[in-house]
Subunit: 392 residues, 2 copies
């Protein structure tokens, strides 16, 4: 179960920071300036309203203050207060009989790594972005990070408890992809959010992801039931479809000091913080992946990752990343598997179970743990499990 | 002068890596797979071509191989071979009488920092992206990082020698901005590339940038004259307009061991590398800014940065970031200037020159140096100068 903070739908990217050892957690609300002060910002509001009126036929999404003024932030953000079906700026539209969201995205030059394919970090960022844009389109968005109006009223935030991503192919620089995202029920009080990534040119689905969310009271830090008011807001958006069907979710063992690879003294930097003053969760995943040896990363690509969130880490916490390889690590390093597969010499290689390696199914696993290094004891933050396949 | 590698127009983001102490520099070409091997990738090419033919009326941008097949990468990237005037996927269009480029961008949730505004890193990334998309639209793009066909033929790459960015306002999360970029002549053998960032909602220009580029032979690592063939390709795109008018460019002093702040033992990580196997230049800027004390960054925002590039760093180099504050650093730290400005108590504060501080013009400067730490001597990589203004 998640015991750390992660606001709604914005998924698994803002997580720790703001907590402290005495349990006095930080403020997770995004301050939307409803009483914008004209003198504080660079804009003259009267002039702005006129300018926008000229430029846009619909001002439905802009809220006016009691004094007839409009806050600078609202003019610049224009969060809709009613359901939208199309957003030409975001290249997004509502699909799936009015409840799913689809967005077109071009993979940018700085979003790819050395092999010219989008990094896992890029995919995770795009999941966060489309989830937020889905809530944006719904007209339910009450603050910058995805809480609904009913949640704000009840002081509730979303926390992610689990995330599972499967990647068959990575999009390349310049490729146009379509991301679909939707939500569904998860038990009585939870929500599932799923995604798919598809290539526009080929129609092939490259990646699938699913995540589970529960609600937490922002002040008490306790998990909460879903209030009827909130259920009323979000349940009309629930659909049954699942991006990844998991009969029995894989159990992730808890690593200890005997783990083969350990990175210690990891510390969040200022630039790791997002607009909720949390360490962005992509940072977590990077901490996990950076523990795997470079020579393995050079010849293998991640095909799946499962993350189980346990607690948030404080801004001043020192973090340890532990990593334990499955058997046969040497086979997947230094390109040995690749060379053998290319030579069609597959039958000549056997895995740890004595069976021959098969080019189409051969994958390799690592188990991960991020924990805080306390003075008296260590505390679990995230357990992870990654699977990899050879780059051919 | 630049003596490190930076490919064309892609501007100042891929710079070091690939060089070594014996002068044997890495390969800077992006391998575009012209002889795509159907068996290597996940796609069936015949089926794909049919699928694309059905989906798209124009196949002008896709090149067929001698055997009638089409490379997988080309299908997925679709780099145009002729000038395009509009790209609906990138939300880009050709402006300025056919030679400038404009692109609409929405600031994404993961591109903003703790104060909900886009980071400098985000702006620099968007400069790179729009520069590349400008070349993309021109039909001149011969490889993934911006070299023209004539440059590829002559084994030339672009290297950036200078960059100057001015930021009046930072865009906020969800804000729609328009980036304009264009190129011009710089001396006999150089090129200037400029940018502006404008808010779509308000029409206000938020940021301006200019950069200077020269050509380098990829093998010899020597600067090169611009061949007539290349001048013929790019000079029709030159215009005179300048985003920033600099009568006399500011001289940046070279720091030494006496600098007040020093971060040592900085080392590029695998995830810092881009598709040219270089450390992405945003990393350079981050190394500079992370040397400034947190308490200063909390109450001030960057209003300008000038970067002078001297040499690339190798993948195994250890880097030192030096930083020297101007006088009066204490005034700009801990919110003292802000508090006084807010109280309209401006006349009560004087700067180091004995003159009162003025709310509209008060800025503060740091000088920066990134250098490699060699065994026998240190070598300059980048000199920098940043100016800051109080966050109000």
């Amino acid at each position: 179960m998640a015991t750390f903070s992660c606001p709604v739908n914005s998924f698994f990217f803002r997580c720790c920071y703001g907590s402290s050892s005495n349990g006095n957690h930080g403020d997770y609300r995004v301050n939307i300036n409803v009483n914008g002060n004209a003198s504080a910002g660079p804009f003259k509001h009267h002039a702005l309203v006129n300018e926008i009126s000229l430029k846009n036929t619909s001002l439905a999404s802009i809220q006016f203050l009691g004094n007839g003024h409009i806050s600078e932030e609202k003019i610049r953000q224009r969060i809709p207060t009613k359901k939208q079906f199309v957003d030409p700026n975001r290249q997004g539209l509502i699909v799936e009989r009015g409840v799913g969201y689809r967005q077109k995205v071009v993979i940018r030059s700085y979003e790819v790594g050395v092999d010219k394919t989008a990094s896992l970090e890029t995919l995770l960022n795009l999941f966060q972005e489309t989830a937020l844009n889905h809530v944006w389109m719904s007209g339910l968005l009450s603050n910058g990070f995805g809480a609904t109006h009913g949640m704000m009223k009840n002081n509730l935030i979303w926390v992610v408890s689990r995330m599972h991503v499967q990647v068959d192919h990575y999009p390349i620089w310049g490729e146009v992809i379509e991301l679909d995202t939707w939500v569904g029920a998860s038990g009585k009080n939870g929500m599932r959010r799923d995604w798919t990534i598809r290539s526009q040119a080929t129609g092939i689905t490259y990646a699938r992801a699913t995540s589970t969310w529960v609600m937490m009271n922002e002040q008490t830090r306790r998990l909460s039931k879903m209030p009827d008011e909130v259920r009323g807001e979000i349940s009309p958006w629930f659909i049954e479809k699942q991006a990844i069907k998991e009969a029995v979710p894989e159990k992730i063992v808890k690593l200890d000091d005997k783990a083969k690879y350990v990175n210690s003294d990891l510390k969040p930097k200022r630039s790791d913080l997002d607009m909720n003053h949390h360490v962005n969760n992509v940072k977590y995943v990077n901490w996990m992946l950076e523990t795997i040896p470079d020579r393995f990363l050079e010849c293998n690509q991640l095909s799946s990752i499962i993350l189980e969130y346990r607690r948030e880490c404080g801004s001043s916490d020192l973090v340890q990343s532990l990593c334990q390889p499955d058997e046969d690590e040497i086979l997947f390093t230094n390109g040995m598997v690749q060379q053998n597969l290319l030579k069609n010499n597959v039958l000549g290689m056997v895995g740890g179970n004595g069976r021959p390696l098969d080019m189409n199914t051969v994958t390799y696993g690592y188990t991960h743990l991020l924990r805080t290094k306390g003075e008296t004891r260590n505390e679990e933050m995230v357990r992870g499990r990654t699977r990899w396949k050879p780059k051919i």
